[in-house]
Amino acid sequence: MEIQNLKGRVAFIFDEPNFDIDQIVGVKNIKVQDLDELKKHAMATYDPSFVDTVRPGDLLVGADNFGYGHPHYPSMKIMRHLGVAGVIAESYAPGYWRGEMSLGFPQVTCPGILDFVKRWDEIEVCWKEGIIRNFTQGTSISFEPLTQADAALLAAGGLVPYLQEVMGISPVNTQ
């Protein structure tokens, strides 16, 4: 199975290093699970129009050590719900990386990404070639390859389907 390329606009750039993703929905909402409720808070302090302007396939861009702190799942849960297809950052905090990758949510490590894109640029992450193309600016940049295990996790669409695959369990039997 192959990982689908990510093709979309840069919907937002978090240029602050060590970015705490809980800020996306606000610390007081990190225990909220209801998507309609989360939508009201998503990006409220960064760009209140975000929830209306984001489109399926859009991507987020982050700086160094993206996901530092004590990341909770609701921020990226609402991002996925809004159609965000993945995150590209200069580098990641390991805990955040693991948590999101296990859900099959693509994370791309790309040193230099902050200088490579502007907000709303149209880009594509080409997994096979290991490059990101910027269609708006006509440029490309290479990114760090995934480990085989992470690639298998993304290709399967997350931890449980990945385990079903490697353990030879038919998803037909599952609920």
Binding site: N18, D20, K28, Y68, G99, I169, Q175
Partner: protein, 418 residues
Amino acid sequence: MGKTITEKILARASGLPDVSVGQEVLATPDFVLAYDWPGQTDVMFREMRDQLGIARIAEPERIGFFIDHMVPSVTPQEEETHIGTRKWCSENGVDLFEKRGIGHQVASEVGFAVPGAFAVHFDGHVSQLGAFGAFAVGLRRNVLEAMVRKQVPIKVPATVRIDLEGELPKGVMARDVFHHIVRLLGPSFCRFQVLELGGEGIENISTEGLQTITGLAMFTGALTAIINPSPERLAYALTRARKQIEPQYSDADAVYAQRHRISLDTLEPIVVAPPSPANTRLLSEHAGLEVHTGYLGSCASGRLEELRVAAQILKGRRVHQGFSLHIVPTSHEIMAAAAREGLIETLVEAGAFVSSSSCDFCYGRIATMAAGQRAVSTGTLNVRGRMGSIDSEIYLCNAATLAASALNGRITDPRPYL
């Protein structure tokens, strides 16, 4: 070319003669640990049964479960989570350690901290088993893979070595060493790598102190932290070990991604100001700041030497009027030892609220702060809302600073009291 302790442990766990940094291997964890937590372990139980078709787990002796959060329960739902965990452990023949203390500490007490072992948990603070020379990694949800398969994929990480020299001055404690490392090298210098501590100074820090330092490793970006075994730490760990494993040691010519030296003699007490574990400051910058509550406990604290220093400072004195001091020994074993030494008596007489062990003070489930309140804490984290209202604040500090601050209701340098 020499190998690090981490490379040697992963080579053994992968059944390979040796492994090198960057190599992807399938390694067999010796131990798979977890505490019960709604949305995490209950989901994992369901996924195993309904989606992976696992009626009964293989090799249950590898697994250890802890009930340390939501202790004691305050809602029927919390108790139901515990009931589910008890049932799953009983059905699967898995050892459950309930209300014995904070799991990462209890794990050491009941023999999961085996020198040379490879252990996994979903929670990254399990890195503190590294104080005993175990390679212990937090996998978050991927711990499910370790539960259901023999092996987990892991890319052999590079190691950053920090050598300590000298001795800590009075009033400066192990956690100040950790905060100093973050202050010096930043919150991401060890990203996806292993923090290995060594040097002659390491033997001047207690085992408990090394548990504190290694347990906080995630705030440097590290996957985990590890320390080569010493005779003293081996003696503790091997008498309790649940599995016979050959201890491992880094070779003198092991290759490190970075090497740093830190002199302990010149360190000062540090406070970590809100709202980030990266916001490390000298105590002197915040001395005098009014604080309303204090928490001495967590998996990163609450051990005997910290209870002793708090008792030393509080003995014969009273906590500041209106200040709430919560002291939570890390485990019942530690609490019993503290009671035998008379520390509990001293702390209670000084006005502390001493509780049986629980994780719940650390994340505001109990002793919850209101807006505008400010805490000194030996907990793990100081992000907004961690211990209650998002408009409350947490200053992390060592146990001596905490006790001295409790006397004055202000952040206070403990050194004049020692």
